[in-house]
């Protein structure tokens, strides 16, 4: 969560932005002249952002999510100063790395080395400064043998590694990142993760635009979701991430889904059926979850489910009646039902949050999704940095005679 006492480093107030999309491509004088003679509207206005306001606080890892064409990249470009808003104001207090994308200005005809210097110049580093950090950049990118090669011979992963290695040299207060985590192998993603964690500890501010909800859950302190140029959800990462995922589960074909729903953030759905009581019982060997539901109207056989999130909002495990192949039957109005889930206690020590849900058989219509239905703590002997901590059976070490040939 945001520390409210921190000062806002980026203030966005009610910005609006629309683009003129030419109806027929008007990029010549002939068209300009003919449209002068025949005055007709040769364009349509596309509203990319319509009254967006939010603050980003110092030291915050801030996520902006939304599907393609929702306006999130336009928003980032406006934060970077690439686009100018039609209305409203953006107030950035601090220096800002203007990278919307990694490897801007990379030229495929130049060598990796030459591109490092060009890219560095865009970040504001002189030739001498780049010279001084050149070896570190190459080390981080792990591209020692390729620096004299032309960039066009690089794989896309190699290009991103190089670009990322340069970008992290930027000593600005705010970093703007658009979809960077999507590329790179596991080892490189680990490096990105370490770097992000370092940024967090240095209290640098990062704005991340992505579709990747696991990245948002993993790194971000707070997030907003943009849809059709407006903020539709903001605040807690888990809430935003779920709202985003819901976009794809209800789909736009059922716009009435949300009518009458309870939008308090921790609970959503059309309330045709509600989760009423939940109970979590933790033993050293097992975890048992009991949920009771009540149907507010007659419904076809529902699908029931639950998720368990750790304190970072990561989805640790989930279960539902489809996956566990349990049949439910049609419900009458005011009919209740209860269900129990039981599974081995493999979670690592920590605090967890339970979400319970119910939806129709195709999972397109959500009746109820209740976040934080219960919070519970797992205590275990010994520490682990891993996400799960199952009981591990181990054999006694067996030793072989060193003289024997194996």
């Amino acid at each position: 969560m945001a520390d409210k006492h921190n000062k806002a480093i980026i203030e966005v107030k009610n910005i609006k932005k629309s683009f003129r999309i030419p109806l027929d491509k008007k990029s010549g004088i002939k068209q300009a002249v003919t449209s002068l003679l025949k005055p007709k509207k040769g364009f349509r206005d596309f509203v990319a952002l319509n009254g967006v306001s939010f603050d980003i606080f110092e030291g915050e890892f801030f996520g902006i999510v939304g599907r393609n064409g929702s306006g999130k990249s336009t928003l980032l470009k406006m934060l970077a100063g690439v686009y100018t808003q039609d209305e409203g104001s953006i107030n950035v207090k601090g220096s800002l790395t203007p990278f919307i994308e990694l490897g801007v200005g990379f030229n495929p005809e130049l060598s990796g080395k030459e591109n490092v210097f060009l890219n560095g110049a865009l970040l504001g580093f002189s030739h001498q400064e780049m010279e001084a950090m050149y070896n570190d950049i190459v080390d981080f990118a792990e591209l020692h043998d390729f620096m004299e090669e032309r960039l066009k011979n690089y794989s896309s992963g190699m290009q991103v590694r190089l670009a990322f290695s340069i970008a992290i040299r930027a000593q600005t207060d705010i970093l703007l990142l658009d979809e960077v985590l999507a590329v790179g192998d596991m080892a490189f993603q680990k490096k990105c993760f370490d770097y992000f964690m370092q940024l967090k500890s240095e209290k640098r501010t990062v704005v991340l635009v992505t579709h990747d909800m696991s990245a948002v859950r993993q790194y971000c302190d707070r997030a907003i979701m943009i849809d059709s140029g407006k903020i539709v959800e903001s605040g807690r990462v888990e809430k935003v991430a779920q709202r985003y995922q819901r976009l794809f589960s209800d789909g736009p074909s059922q716009p009435t889904d949300d009518t009458g729903s309870d939008e308090d953030g921790d609970r959503w759905g059309n309330r045709k059926m509600l989760a009423q009581h939940t109970k979590v019982k933790v033993t050293p060997s097992n975890i048992k979850v009991d949920v009771t539901y009540m149907a507010n109207e007659a419904l076809p056989a529902p699908v029931l489910g639950f998720n368990i999130y750790n304190s970072h909002g990561m989805n640790m495990l989930e279960g539902n009646t489809i996956r566990t192949k349990v049949k439910t039957k049609n419900l009458a109005k005011n009919e209740g039902l209860s269900i129990s889930w039981e599974f081995p206690n493999t979670l690592a020590a920590g605090t967890y949050s339970l979400s319970v849900s119910c939806c129709d058989s195709s999972a397109t219509e959500y009746y109820d999704w209740l976040n934080n239905a219960k919070e519970f703590t797992i205590e275990k002997d010994g520490n682990t940095a891993a996400l799960i901590d199952p009981e591990i059976k181990v054999s006694k070490p067996k030793y072989k005679n060193g003289n024997q040939e194996s």
């Binding site: 683009f19 990029s27 010549g28 004088i29 002939k30 300009a32 470009k77 970077a80 100063g81 690439v82 686009y83 100018t84 203007p98 990278f99 919307i100 994308e101 801007v104 200005g105 030229n107 005809e109 130049l110 030459e114 210097f117 060009l118 560095g120 110049a121 865009l122 504001g124 580093f125 002189s126 030739h127």
Partner: protein, 271 residues
């Protein structure tokens, strides 16, 4: 756009790196590399020299006409390069403009500075020929850098204006190409202005001398090669009319800056 910010540290770094990149890219993969920036105007000069000076006998009676022609071609080549590349710079660097914020005039500058560097190399060749031809050097040759500066500012102003228009109307590049062809013949580069005075009329010659490019080329020739060269100020007595080339230059600059300031924030969307 404060003037003090125009050349702040970050912008200088960027300008330098863009110019260097431009140079590397332009001659990449060619055997002679940078030499081409010298060879091109020299080869052009050779053609014009053979056709117009040897066969058609242009410039007979004009002292050091060959060197004069070379100097004219070198300055003209710069003007063409700077305006054409400057005009296309914003569109050509659209990838940068769409993704990163930085002062956009840097791009136009880097394109024109590349041309300016070429001009400097070429001026070395011209100097070599000046010595070879036994031109009597006078102290006015020290003024040549000022003439080049004036030509650079004119080219930068035109490039800026055209670059803004080119973002919206791609026809501009074709129009400008034709315009340049016309201007080449309207400027006393491959013929001495005296031909026009003798064969047509003095008035026409005077009108031709009001063209800023003609004014600069003739003044440079005056300063570097021969004080017999007819310049705008020596040819036109009325000081107000004689200052028209300067007024035109300043006018273009004001128009270009106004247009650029008005439009630059939309480059990222339109490019």
């Amino acid at each position: 756009m404060k003037l003090s910010n125009v050349f702040n540290r970050r912008n200088r770094i960027l300008l330098r790196e863009l110019v260097v990149t431009d140079f590397k890219l332009r001659y990449q993969g060619s055997v002679l590399g940078y030499l081409w920036s010298l060879l091109r105007p020299l080869l052009f000069f050779t053609i014009l020299y053979v056709v117009f000076v040897r066969f058609l006998r242009f410039g007979e009676g004009v002292e050091h006409f060959a060197v004069s022609l070379l100097l004219g071609i070198v300055l003209w080549t710069f003007f063409v390069e700077a305006t054409t590349q400057g005009m296309q710079a914003i569109v050509a660097r659209g990838d940068l403009i769409r993704k990163i914020y930085f002062p956009k005039y840097i791009i136009i500058m880097s394109a024109t500075v590349s041309a300016l560097i070429n001009l400097c190399f070429n001026m070395v060749v011209v100097l070599f020929f000046i010595f070879l031809n036994g031109v009597d050097l006078t102290a006015t040759i020290l003024l040549v850098p000022l003439n080049i500066l004036q030509l650079y500012l004119l080219a930068l102003a035109i490039a800026t204006g055209l670059a803004v228009l080119f973002v919206k109307y791609r026809d501009i590049s074709h129009l400008w190409e034709v315009f340049l062809q016309g201007l080449f013949y309207a400027t006393p580069i491959l013929y001495p202005i005296s031909i026009v005075i003798d064969n047509t009329s003095e008035t026409v010659a005077k009108i031709l001398m009001l063209n800023p490019v003609a004014e600069i080329i003739q003044t440079t020739r005056y300063n570097a090669i021969s004080h017999d060269t007819i310049t705008t100020t020596s040819f036109i007595d009325n000081p107000f009319i004689a200052s028209i080339p300067y007024i035109v230059t300043v006018g273009i600059a004001i128009w270009a800056v106004y247009l650029f300031k008005k439009q630059q924030r939309y480059f990222a969307e339109n490019v």
